[in-house]
């Protein structure tokens, strides 16, 4: 005698093959989707590898070109032809426009300035104007890029007043700047004036702002002229921040200084960060955000 089958048994008989089919379908879907994901990931990896290969090859080609260019230009400065100031000016322009982010060109600018002062060539004024124009253009370019990542302020110096005050110098109004969320007070004191070379000797003092984080005070005394470029010639502060003072304008009676503070990672290529600063930054980035 057959056992009476209830409704659930009937459902069971019907659903058993359907369940099998569904399981097979699920395996097929997972398999197809899985292989699709793997394919997409592989394609993305291949693209990324290809892109980085292309970039590194381009980098290599550019580095080799820049190296050749640099060697031939620097050679002309180390073995100058007497009286060939035109070529020197052109070479300095090439160097400045192509290597201003990685080299301190101030010695070359000053050397050429001295040569131009000593020469009696008719076009020496034109040459002087050319090197000055390059220097100002590069300073402006570097300032423009640094101001986008940091903070800056400008002050005028009364040169006649400075000559009267003598070695006490002239204190310019302090300014609070904020870089990467850190607030500091920057003070600039102009100590000496060199009219012949259009240079100022200044003292830069950076101290923590009121209510800001505790920071070590930094103080530095240095020369500032038109051939000091902010990306290259800057002062490293205790917290990895950099501050640069640049000469932005000069007249018989006044000079304008621009002070820019920016994160250390935007300093020039020749500037290597301290290992502890890198570690601190990495630890800060890895720490979970509150």
């Amino acid at each position: 005698m057959g056992e009476q089958k209830d409704l659930w048994d009937k459902f069971g008989v019907l659903l058993q093959p359907v369940g099998g089919a569904l399981a097979a379908l699920a395996v097929a879907v997972v398999g197809i989707r899985g292989s699709q994901v793997i394919n997409e990931r592989q394609a993305a990896d291949t693209n990324a590898r290809l892109y980085s290969e292309l970039m590194s090859r381009r980098e290599e080609a550019e580095s080799s070109l820049r190296k050749d260019m640099f060697v031939s230009i620097i050679d002309s400065f180390l073995r100058p032809q007497p009286g060939d100031l035109g070529s020197m000016v052109l070479n300095l322009e090439l160097l400045a426009y192509n290597f201003h982010e990685s080299l301190n060109l101030k010695p070359l600018f000053l050397d050429l300035q001295r040569r131009l002062r000593e020469t009696s060539q008719a076009n020496r004024e034109e040459y002087r104007q050319r090197i000055d124009r390059v220097a100002r253009e590069i300073t402006a370019r570097q300032l423009f890029s640094l101001e986008g990542h940091g903070d800056s302020f400008r002050r005028s110096v009364d040169l006649e007043d400075l000559e009267r005050t003598g070695r006490f110098g002239q204190e310019l109004d302090a300014e609070e700047v904020q870089v990467d969320g850190t607030r500091v007070v920057v003070r600039v004191r102009v100590l000496e004036l060199d009219r012949a070379n259009q240079q100022l000797i200044i003292r830069l003092e950076v101290s923590p702002a009121e209510g800001g984080p505790e920071l070590t005070e930094s103080r530095a005394t240095f020369q500032v002229g038109f051939y000091d470029f902010p990306l290259i010639d800057n002062t490293r502060l205790a917290n990895g921040m950099r501050c640069a003072v640049t000469l932005s304008a000069w007249s018989k009676s006044n000079a304008d200084l621009t002070t820019t503070c920016f994160p250390g990672e935007y300093a020039s290529l020749k500037d290597r960060p301290y290992i502890d600063e890198v570690m601190k930054k990495l630890t800060k980035q890895a720490a979970p955000q509150p």
Partner: protein, 118 residues
């Protein structure tokens, strides 16, 4: 007839060119920058006027981003007068042969407007 007309045109053209060169704004004495109220651009209607030596330069409104631009055409010490919401404050700036940037920060303390260079 044609030759004399050509000469007249040349003379007039030359005079015009000379007048343009003499009156066109030169880079000397150019002062520009932003007027800020705290960290934000100054309110609409804020104006900046300049006085360089004995020459006055009329007040001009700042744009939406707070930018102003004055061609003083003269080098030396200048006083910029910023007027906002009926009050005025001054800032000293030096103009040079090259253009000079001077950002101005406005502050109101005890209802009185003050301005300083940034």
């Amino acid at each position: 007839m044609t030759r004399s007309r050509t000469r007249t045109f040349t003379a007039v053209g030359g005079l015009g060119l000379a007048a343009t060169l003499l009156t066109s704004p030169a880079a000397a004495g150019e002062i520009f920058g932003r007027v800020l109220q705290g960290n934000a651009p100054a309110a609409a209607g804020t104006t900046v006027a300049a006085k360089c030596g004995d020459a006055d330069y009329a007040a001009r409104p700042v744009d939406r981003s707070g930018n102003y631009h004055i061609v003083a055409g003269k080098t030396g010490k200048c006083t910029l007068t910023v007027t906002a919401k009926g009050q005025s404050a001054t800032v000293d700036v030096v103009s040079y042969d090259d253009p000079v940037e001077a950002d101005i920060v406005l502050d109101t303390k005890d209802g009185k407007l003050s301005a300083r260079r940034r």
